[in-house]
């Protein structure tokens, strides 16, 4: 066991604690960025002028009428930018564009004494546009060969040989929609300039360092001129990894130009219209199976809908390709990836970061092919699991594959799956218009940023003379409980009661050069850094103590008077990982997180409406740092995944009418998240036992993203329930999201007894094979030519 993962007896880690801010949350005392506005005098409010066109050249911008509106103080335009007019990390996101690239793209921003004044000012700004042709849908982009960025390939073996030798070959197309983050707190920034010209931006950002860098870049300042603080976020889910930067830069620009604090908070409609979402994907695939249903080969071409700029689309695509295998051994693999360029919001990180989309492809393949193979999907999935010694298509040996099997067997037992499936068969035989189904699906998710350099973190730990402890670290709190875990790590490392430790908000002037709070790895990374800082202090204190066993307060006091340093900067970097994105090979992940879910649904054949009757989950979080927090991540991630796969339905106007390119589900009234009514009637979650993870802080594992993909069980159960309206052996193509309407049409097709859209035999529908001369991913596709991006 490594020093990092060894856990002392009676540790603060491992205790089930409520969120460290829970008492503030429930009383309304917890502050979020926009709450600070009411504690800041003389604030100006910013409102955007948004493009009504998906693609157009701005031919005239006249702000004079806006400036005449009472209360309007200034209009920010490209001419005001002292530095670089760009808010991205790849120079493809002009902050004040000459060519607008999507409906909602902000042309300029109006500052007013009140939000009402700014809004009225924005209405008064005159903009002339010369509309340009726009590509809206992913299929349009594929047809027009409108792509951006690199086109990575993951290959192993000889897929032609693998397919030729297969007993069964199937081919098809799988499409899946994106997802709106719908963090309850929309994007918000509040910028001030102090007497020395230091720019201070409070921002709802998952990546304060990158927000700092982009603010500095736009203002033409060095990074040390800009401080970014994030108190906490009202949810992030990846949506605040890259998207906050431009908004922070606008607020900062306004503050610099006016000398007054500037607040920029997006309305929900602006947030949904202007900011990126989970990528929708299109996948063409051919899959070979042997007589026993074992996968022999898989070829797939995945095209993601990147939107108008590259943003994080390349690393999202890389992670998607690295997760097409999910938990399954596939000897011969050929995966192509490409990012479509469309005139929509720039799609971005979202919990899972391409992993869910990649895994959905193979789960869709298995779900559709199982009936054609005549093999029970539960058995088909189980039969294809990785076993010890096998490697992923990108060359990383899969460690602990037995854990997914253990979780599977536990779910089968505790979920009483066999008994319930017999009952379901009897129920279905007795009910013509209502069908039930129970599906079981696995998750294997790689932990670490694909891009090796991001796997580092810093922390600052102060011990004050009275023995109290204050910690800072580079991660941000968005509800995932990172701060709770860091408090537990610090208390455990120092051997002090939890009450001795406080945590201060995340700031770039406390811990510099941080990575995004992303990739589920923030507890691993920042926990390592906090522990490292604590251990530096402890080693000094041990010398002072010299075996006397002094009480903590006495020891600290004595150390101070002995002129011993009582604070430390901690650092951590993940060891043993490497990745070459140009050839898509390496050992990018420190470890894999595993989980299994079994879900039972009931579908009404008249409407396609459904409910989830019961869900059983066993999930691997290693030795949990904080079981209540981890349970919350598993449940919350699962429900969010169910939302993506069933309910949340992003619709863009793809018509040729005047609304073309408009997001038609741009509000909570038209874009529906799961509500309490979607909670399964029964939800049982267990954390996998005997799951110590060596080499990770106190034996724990990351938990933020993997549970999202447990939701595949619900989608597969819906597929099987829809199929149950048809004869045995019906293969059902289920749209994603599987809304009641989608389930209804799937059931209708099952009733008409045709197998859907799966082609059997060779050559089948051969996936596009992008131009072999297409560029690979940039060696640092996650990396800006300045600054960094999460991934």
């Amino acid at each position: 066991m490594s020093d990092l993962s060894r856990r002392p007896d009676d540790a603060a880690v491992g205790r089930a604690l409520a969120h460290e801010s829970a008492a503030q949350h429930v009383t309304g005392h917890a502050l979020y960025t926009d709450d600070l506005v009411h504690r800041t005098p003389h604030v100006l409010h910013a409102h955007p002028v948004c493009s009504p066109h998906p693609h157009a050249r701005v031919t005239r911008l006249d702000t004079s009428r806006a400036l005449a509106v009472e209360g309007v103080v200034r209009v920010l335009t490209a001419d005001d930018v002292p530095g670089t007019n760009d808010a991205g990390v790849k120079h493809d996101e002009p902050l004040f564009p000459e060519i607008v690239m999507f409906v909602g793209h902000a042309v300029c921003w109006v500052l007013g004494e009140t939000l009402e004044a700014a809004r009225l000012g924005a209405e008064a700004v005159e903009v002339d546009y010369e509309p340009l042709p726009a590509i809206v849908s992913l299929t349009e982009a594929i047809e027009a060969e409108s792509f951006q960025g690199g086109q990575p390939v993951v290959a192993r073996g000889d897929v032609e040989q693998g397919l030729a030798g297969a007993a069964h070959v199937f081919s098809g197309v799988t499409e899946m929609a994106g997802q709106e983050h719908f963090y309850l707190e929309t994007h918000a920034s509040l910028a001030l300039v102090d007497e020395a010209g230091q720019v201070f931006v409070q921002s709802s950002t998952q990546h304060p360092t990158e927000t700092q860098e982009i603010v500095a870049h736009v203002l033409g300042l060095d990074s040390h001129h800009v401080t970014v603080q994030c108190l906490r976020m009202g949810g992030g889910f990846g949506g605040k990894e890259m998207q906050p930067h431009g908004f922070a830069a606008v607020a900062a620009l306004g503050a610099v130009l006016t000398g007054r604090p500037v607040r920029l908070r997006l309305s929900r409609t602006h947030d949904m219209t202007m900011t990126g979402k989970r990528h929708g994907f299109h996948a063409q695939w051919r899959a070979g199976f042997d007589d026993d249903g074992r996968l022999t080969a898989l070829e797939a071409t995945l095209t993601s809908d990147g939107g108008w700029s590259l943003d994080l689309s390349e690393p999202v695509l890389a992670r998607a390709l690295c997760h097409v295998d999910n938990a399954y051994w596939i000897p011969h693999v050929l995966l192509h990836g490409r990012v479509a360029h469309t005139h929509k919001t720039s799609q971005t990180a979202f919990r899972g970061f391409g992993g869910p989309q990649g895994m959905l492809v193979v789960e869709d393949v298995l779900g559709r092919c199982a009936p054609l193979l005549g093999i029970d999907p539960v058995e088909l999935r189980r039969r294809n699991f990785y076993v010890e010694g096998q490697a992923t298509p990108y060359g990383q040996v899969v460690r602990h594959p037995e854990r997914v099997a253990a979780a599977w067997d536990q779910v089968m037992t505790t979920g009483e799956v066999e008994r319930r499936r017999r009952e379901i068969a009897a129920f279905n035989a007795a009910h013509e218009h209502t069908k039930r189904a129970l599906a079981v699906t696995p998750v294997k998710f790689g932990i670490s940023f694909n891009f090796t350099a991001f796997n580092q973190a810093g922390a600052l730990v102060h011990v004050y003379k009275d023995g109290s402890v204050l910690i800072n670290h580079g991660g941000t709190e968005m509800g995932q409980g990172l701060h709770t875990k860091m408090l537990q790590v610090a208390a455990t490392s120092l051997g002090v009661p939890l009450g001795k430790v406080r945590l201060a908000p995340t700031r770039t002037d406390k811990v510099p050069n941080t990575s995004a709070t992303a990739a589920s790895s923030s507890a691993d990374l920042n926990g390592g850094a906090v522990k490292n800082a604590c251990e530096q202090i402890l080693s000094r204190l041990r010398q002072v103590d010299a075996g006397r066993g002094l009480p903590w307060e006495d020891l600290v006091r004595e150390a101070y008077f002995s002129r011993v340093q009582l604070w430390a900067a901690g650092f951590y970097r993940t060891e043993g990982i490497h990745w070459d994105s140009t050839v898509m090979r390496g050992h990018p992940f420190k470890y894999f997180a595993y989980g299994v879910a079994a879900a039972e649904v009931e579908v009404d054949g008249f409407t396609g409406a459904y409910r989830t009757r019961r869900v059983d989950i066993v999930h691997d979080v290693g030795d949990s740092l904080s079981p209540l927090v981890d349970l919350g991540q598993v449940e919350g991630g699962f429900v969010q995944g169910v939302g993506w796969l069933t309910l949340e339905d992003l619709r863009w106007d793809e018509s040729s009418g005047p609304g073309r390119g408009r997001l038609t589900t741009q509000a909570a009234s038209t874009y529906k998240l799961p509500s309490i009514g979607e909670l399964p009637d029964e939800l049982n979650v267990a954390l996998l036992e005997h799951a110590h993870e060596d080499g990770v802080v106190y034996g724990s594992k990351a938990v933020g993203e993997p549970p999202v993909m447990l939701a595949f069980a619900v989608r597969e159960a819906l597929r099987e329930a829809a199929a149950a309206f048809g004869p045995d052996g019906t293969s059902v193509d289920l749209a994603s999201p599987a809304t009641p309407e989608a389930v209804f049409w799937a059931a209708e097709r099952a009733r008409s007894a045709g197998s859907d859209h799966v082609v059997e035999g060779l050559p089948g529908a051969v996936p596009d094979r992008p131009d072999p001369t297409a560029p690979a991913l940039h060696p640092r596709s996650e990396q800006a030519d300045r600054g960094t991006a999460g991934g």
Partner: protein, 479 residues
Amino acid sequence: MRAPGTPARAEGRTVAEPQITVNGQPRPLAGVPAHTNALDFVRGLGLTGAKEGCAEGECGACAVLVARPDGDGSRWAPVNACLVPALALDGQEVVTAEGLGGPDDLHPVQTGLAEAGGSQCGYCTPGFVCSMAAEYYRPDRTPGPDGFDVHAIGGNLCRCTGYRPIRDAACALGSPSPADPLAGRQDRPAPPPAPTRVDGFARPADLAEALALLAEHPDATVLAGSTDWGVEANLRGRRAAYVVAVDRLPELRDLTTGADGVEIGAALTLSEVEAALGDDVPLLAQVWPQFASRLIRNGATIGGNVATASPIGDLAPALLALDARLVLASAAGDREVALAGFFTGYRETVLRPAELVRAVRVPTPLAAHTTFRKIAKRRFDDISSVAVAVALDVVDGTVARARIGLGGVAATPVRALATEAALEGRPWDLDTVEAASAVLAGEGTPIDDQRASAAYRSAMLGNALKAWWDQAWQGGGSA
């Protein structure tokens, strides 16, 4: 039937400065514009627990408690503060999450939610706390898992937890202690409506004054629960030239049962109508749980819901199936129109300038058999793709009378007249159901939009009667 509370007229405050009592402290409304909503108002006081999540009453992050009339006493009713103009709460008592308890002095609801892991990012949490507290204080609630109506928090969205810990915390709540001041507050009447009269906003004392104001201000916006207008104001920037608040007019708040029907005052909230009617009108009892959320039903009024003439509202199809009539009041007196003749086009009605919906009349005897079928993406608190309300009388096995109201399939709520004709006089059997279903599938002019395809809408029309037959009638059952 229990009549909802009708408070005494406001008296003696005609010149008082408008104010709201927030967490026990009077807070002046001086200078607050008519478009400022209650959420922005309380946040401006530094009470930033209530949050804006959507600004259209869909997420509940802005929920606050308002003392509302309830018989001789009052009830803490949670509402979406983002939708209500602050001035509409003049004279009222509001409690926010901060007013329930502080970090060192947690309210039992707050303790339960915190300890259960019911907060992650915490942004939605103060709103959940308010919705949960209202249910906690519901006088007829029994403690324990079955006593807590989970639908009470159906209008609050959480993106982090997946709801299980919130549900568990809610279901574990005990009863308020006898010393709980907020429980005790419910024993006393709610504050009377204040006769607010400031620039651009007026709350008349009675119907006559309201009608006079409307005559005086032809461009006035008539405001009741503001659940529709608030969305227009917040999302589309609409501003009223003049607001006349009618939600507390005494003439619009009676519910009476007579020999020929039930008359429901237009300004009764849907929650009040729901409580007062109980199961007396079974079709409406089916509608309530599927109609928006408790937060919305605490604000929205029955008259407002009808008068906004939304083609996708859920109440109009049911009222059409009930053959409801509207009493319209103007300075010239009352007139009565059939709801079926009320809607003239997309969000247009026969209402004349300076005329109000005073009451909704549901004639009796009610049809013996009714069903309400709502098709939406989400099971609860979603807007209908299609709504079908059916009321049938079956005499000796023959359909004597059929009324079918439809929502979501035309520019207005409509009656399915051809289907009604295909049912009346026919034997009520599977053959008739199938024949009528084919007719019903062709009713209206459904469109493709973000909620559903036209084909799905038509298919849902075509399946509505079949599903009802299958679920309630087949095998000799009776709905």
